[in-house]
Symmetry: C2
Subunit: 223 residues, 2 copies
């Protein structure tokens, strides 16, 4: 009778066939927020989110709770959901956190950085130029983060990387406002310094370059 019950999931084991609904919603919202696709102060509704992802309120609520826990979303006293509008003090704090965490991550990645990694970084850096040409703010943020993440992945420090990503998440909506403002810009200077320091195995130089790259953009964000 129930012989078929032994293979309840005929799909391939890799790439979970049906990711949990709340996880799909979480990931969808997360990347949007981190890439700056949502403006600060934007209001969201659970029913709206659910409708957008084709699920009911329950998974939408779970995804929102998770994002609130990570500081990516804000809850008003009445439970309304919105992307946070950051104060200057908070922006400075988050910039300091980025500096702390990412300098450490880069430093740990340095001894593990092979030529293949540097090549990939240069490729990513080149594509940053393209998105700048296209005036694609979201694409710029996404590619920039990809550059940093690619480097930090070599640090073999998942907890630290997760914390750095949490900070990125909190800065997402605000970064959109920043990069929407200053349109013209060449491919980031400090990225080249980072790559040069990696090639030279120059740890102090790498720390300084990362710190500068992180600080530079955020400094002009404080109104």
């Amino acid at each position: 009778m129930s012989v078929m019950l032994l293979t309840p999931r005929p799909e391939s084991p890799r790439s979970d066939p049906t990711p949990a609904a709340h996880d799909r919603v979480y990931r969808g919202l997360r990347t949007r927020i981190m890439h700056g696709a949502i403006a600060p102060g934007q209001a969201l509704t659970l029913r709206g989110i659910g409708a957008e992802f084709g699920v009911s309120m329950t998974p939408a609520r779970e995804a929102v709770r998770r994002l609130v826990a990570e500081g990516a979303l804000q809850l008003s006293s009445s439970g309304r959901v919105s992307t946070p509008e950051l104060t200057n003090e908070r922006i400075e704090e988050l910039a300091a956190l980025r500096a702390l965490l990412e300098v450490e991550l880069a430093s740990r990645a340095l001894p593990r950085a092979h030529m293949a990694l540097i090549d990939r970084l240069q490729t990513i850096n080149a594509s940053i130029g393209e998105v700048i040409e296209a005036h694609d703010a979201v694409g710029y943020i996404r590619t920039n983060l990809e550059f940093h993440r690619t480097l930090y992945l070599r640090a073999q420090a998942p907890a630290m990387l997760a914390m750095a990503e949490t900070v990125w998440l909190q800065l997402g909506p605000t970064m959109r406002k920043l990069y929407g403002r200053l349109q013209r810009r060449e491919t980031p200077h400090f990225h080249k310094l980072i790559i040069a320091a990696l090639k030279a195995g120059d740890e102090p130089g790498l720390r300084l370059a990362v710190r500068s790259d992180v600080t530079q953009g955020l400094r002009m964000l404080t109104t």
Copy 2:
């Protein structure tokens, strides 16, 4: 007729009269985990949590999701909830994070540290001796964290403090195992160094003392 409608909340604005159920559950579980009241690897069930707090599964699930997002709980592939058993690599990483964040927090608190703060720290430090006498592991962790939090609150850096607390949360169950092991111990030496550095306004000394205090305990945790 409806003049009273302008004061929809006759209660005092502080201490929300009926905190949301999911928040009560979240806070309850959170402090338990952070204080090391739950052993690593301990399994939990949504229905069990709900029953314990007198709520249904829904708020229990939200609280759990939030704690999972903060790394305080772990989800097995099938969705089962448990406190994580940390690997040595992860413990070292979290210790490094504590060092990074807390040194920075202490450094920021230093210029704001008045005599009243130092007095409070000394009072807390004294009570640490008592809980050590009583062989109260949970009390020790709680009081120790109170010492650190009291200092870091002066840093006026809420985002950074929140990150530090997240790290504490992840280390909670594992710390229980540690402090359960080594029973006898005098009131922590490095706390006295921290207080001395605060009195002297000695920033390098403070940074070193905090780093030592954070590192010391965690070092003997790596199996």
